[in-house]
């Protein structure tokens, strides 16, 4: 069967199970767009190619399937860079397809020619420059294998215009992936398992760490078995939230820079860390020299290059959690660890007093209250929350309690503002049966709010909660703590978000008191179609606790106690 390269592209994508793509057409990708009409593909027309990559990313994280974004050469391709890097840092499987100028023009600085494979080399797992129709099918097949397997990540395929236009014989089977560098992850040795189990059985104060890898691997069940059997408290990284039920009594909460105080203190007191699918990021550890000084470390991780990268590990178990944990479990002895759990319970005591939840609202609308109310209103239904980056993101992690995996989607590693709205659109496409809320600051919202038009045009029903404090809040917080409150370039004005929503043809609601939060959320949920709620919250609110960058994990800035009711919550 003779097909054009463009037809082979779609034929291959469809065979890989692709049903949805997010993209923006242009000159060098036109042959592919023309061929797309003949295939069962739902295309979402984005307003900016960065949005396409975040949508593919949101799609992938919500579903576990590979997300696909498509753009033209030159600026179309470079606009994808931020989204590709976001997916790389958070191990999200996406495949990006870009058009390229004709193969004879490569290297000539032709119109809209850019070396996108060169540009994306350090931010993709792998990339391809395809210059012949014969190579399209193999590139697509390999890209999907690479994006999904091991530690997932983004793959880019740059296809020249002539490779899309010319024809060749299409043979799916002959295009089977050839990846000489591919190797199965060898099993950890039996001795390593025994060593790990001995450490666990001997530990008096162990903590299990749940990272993003737990969800990627689908290892929620064995993690829970391990925790239950040995009564080991479980702490989560930001991206690990949802990997262990928030309502489980052994879940002690999030760790790190804005983690719960008792979690960070417990880590510093622990005698064993069992790190599962996480990478000891600096936002998690604080000062490495004083990090968990009494603890042995077991690191269960699929990427060998993460072992001993930041933290020296006593027993590495390299492999897929889903395979490793069932081999470890039979060796782990039951234990109640009552003293350790009591100790953590005591550590919680003073934090409860300092909690923002104990602040009387007295007319103020605190972001934490909004998020906690949003959780109360949506906890009974299948809901995905997609956050942006900043203060609201941390409050979401603290005050929205996630019981199931893939219910929180957030840009952790790269910290990409502007992520929430497009990623929410992608998530909704992947799981239309779920309610999808984008929780976003007024800063990040204004970076990618153009994608509201995408949601309208393609009838994608997302709800947007703007946590509007008129500041670039997290930066303002750093200025408050570390730059003598000199608020350089952080006060931020915005449009009237309700009118803006209406201009997009969707419903807008403004909320400025706590009593109006739940009714607004209810109104948004019962409204068919996208809704924007402008939550006008306290302007100078602060995320507590906070481990200053590079400081010791236990040296947290805590919410002052007793709370001083000044309006500005400091």
């Amino acid at each position: 069967m003779k097909l054009t390269g463009a037809q082979i592209l779609w034929e291959s994508l469809v065979r890989e199970g692709v049903t949805d793509v997010f993209g923006y057409p242009g000159g060098a990708i036109l042959p592919a767009y023309d061929a797309m009409l003949d295939y069962p593909i739902r295309h979402v027309l984005v307003r900016h190619e960065q949005g396409a990559t975040h949508m593919a990313d949101g799609y992938a994280r919500a579903s576990g399937r590979v997300g696909v974004a498509i753009a033209t050469s030159g600026p179309g391709a470079t606009n994808m860079v931020t989204g590709i890097a976001t997916a790389m840092l958070d191990s999200s499987p996406i495949v990006c397809i870009t058009g390229q100028v004709g193969s004879r023009l490569i290297g000539s600085d032709a119109f809209q020619e850019i070396d996108i494979t060169g540009i994306t080399l350090p931010i993709t797992k792998h990339n391809y420059l395809v210059t012949r129709a014969d190579d399209v099918a193999r590139a697509v097949r390999e890209a999907f294998v690479i994006a999904k397997s091991g530690r997932p990540g983004p793959v880019l395929i740059d296809i020249t215009k002539d490779a899309q236009q010319s024809s060749c014989e299409f043979d799916w089977d002959a295009a089977a992936p050839v990846v000489p560098g591919w190797r199965r992850v060898p099993d950890a040795t039996a001795a390593a398992f025994e060593e790990a189990a001995a450490l666990i059985n001997a530990a008096e104060r162990p903590v299990i760490f749940v990272g993003h890898g737990v969800m990627i691997s689908g290892a929620m069940e064995p993690i829970q078995t391990l925790a239950d059997r040995a009564h080991i408290p479980v702490a989560m990284t930001l991206l690990g939230i949802g990997g262990f039920p928030a309502s489980h009594p052994l879940n002690i909460g999030m760790m790190g820079m804005h983690g719960e105080a008792w979690v960070n203190l417990a880590i510093q007191e622990a005698d064993l860390l069992i790190a599962c699918g996480m990478r000891f990021d600096d936002r998690v550890t604080g000062n490495l020299r004083t990090y968990a000084p009494n603890a042995k470390k077991i690191h269960i991780e699929i990427d060998p290059s993460e072992i001993n990268k930041n933290v020296a590990v006593d027993v590495p178990l390299v492999g897929d959690l889903h395979d490793v944990l069932p081999r470890l479990l039979p060796l782990v002895a039951a234990s109640d660890r009552a003293a350790w759990l009591r100790r953590i319970h005591d550590l919680k005591g003073d934090s409860a007093v300092r909690d923002i939840q104990s602040l009387p609202d007295e007319g103020h609308l605190y972001a934490a209250h909004v998020i906690n109310d949003l959780w109360r209103a949506t906890r009974e239904t299948e809901t995905i929350v997609v956050t942006d980056v900043g203060q609201h993101q941390m409050w979401e992690a603290q005050y929205y309690h996630h019981d199931v995996p893939r219910s929180l989607i957030t840009s952790g590693g790269l910290g990409t503002m502007g992520f929430a709205v497009p990623a929410a659109i992608g998530a909704k496409r992947a799981r239309p049966e779920a309610d999808v809320w984008a929780v976003v600051g007024d800063g990040g919202f204004q970076m990618t709010m153009c994608e509201l038009a995408t949601a309208v045009q393609d009838s994608i029903d997302i709800k947007v909660a703007i946590i509007n404090n008129g500041y670039l809040g997290m930066v303002r917080q750093w200025q408050e703590f570390f730059y003598e409150r000199r608020y350089a370039a952080t006060p931020l004005s915005g449009p009237d978000f309700v009118k803006l929503a209406e201009a997009f043809g969707i419903r807008g609601i403004a909320v400025s008191t706590r009593g109006d939060v739940l009714p607004a959320v209810a109104a948004a949920r019962s409204h068919a179609g996208p809704v924007v709620i402008d939550f006008r919250v306290e302007q100078e609110d602060t995320v507590y606790p906070m481990v200053p960058a590079g400081a010791d994990l236990h040296a947290m800035i805590r919410r002052p106690n007793p709370i001083v009711e000044t309006g500005a919550d400091v």
Partner: protein, 181 residues
């Protein structure tokens, strides 16, 4: 210093991927030599990097994450033959020429070009030995020099690029590093 031999697919851009990895991860390449290996389609690199054993382990793991990398060996501690090749152009007139020729002979180097005012000396050997030759030539005036950087091969039997080919299994995996795509 750690010496790695790296087998890679012989494809456009692969050298860039390997070099970029060292740059991106903050490792300084001391020398890098690339050429064909005994297996068609597979190139062999010898990379010398200043790092500690932990860094060497991570370099290996990072290299394996590159899709086009077939096999990596850290041969720092393995009995190996290590060679550098240098071409050295020395200023030499009728008067100084005999002395320089004698030095070359002592070092087992060859003279490959003689011009009225200069000589080109070719020397293959360990880096230290070439450095030694350079030291004694320098007073005569070294006009130009080019060195290949270190190439290395473990002693004993066996070709090591046989990992090439589709989906090489774990049979040839080494115990200390594992691989994933």
């Amino acid at each position: 210093m750690h010496t790695f031999t790296v087998y890679v697919e012989d494809r456009p851009g692969v050298l860039n991927r390997v070099a970029s990895l060292f740059r991106r991860r903050g490792f300084n390449i001391h020398s890098l030599a690339v050429g064909h290996s005994e297996t068609p389609g597979v190139s062999r690199m010898t990379v010398v990097v200043q790092t500690d054993p932990g860094g060497a382990q991570r370099i290996k793991a990072h290299l394996y994450k590159l899709i086009n990398v077939v096999r990596v060996e850290d041969i720092t501690e393995v009995p190996s033959i290590v060679r550098d090749l240098a071409l050295i152009k020395v200023s030499a007139d009728a008067q100084s020429r005999p002395a320089i020729l004698q030095l070359a002979e002592v070092f087992g180097a060859r003279v490959v070009d003689v011009a009225p005012a200069s000589l080109v000396i070719e020397m293959a050997g360990s880096e230290a030995k070439i450095d030694g030759l350079l030291d004694v030539l320098r007073p005569h005036g070294v006009l130009e020099m080019v060195r290949t950087g270190r190439v290395a091969m473990a002693r004993g039997v066996g070709s090591r690029s046989n990992g090439a080919g589709p989906a090489a299994g774990p049979a040839d995996a080494e115990a200390d590093v594992s691989y994933s795509v």
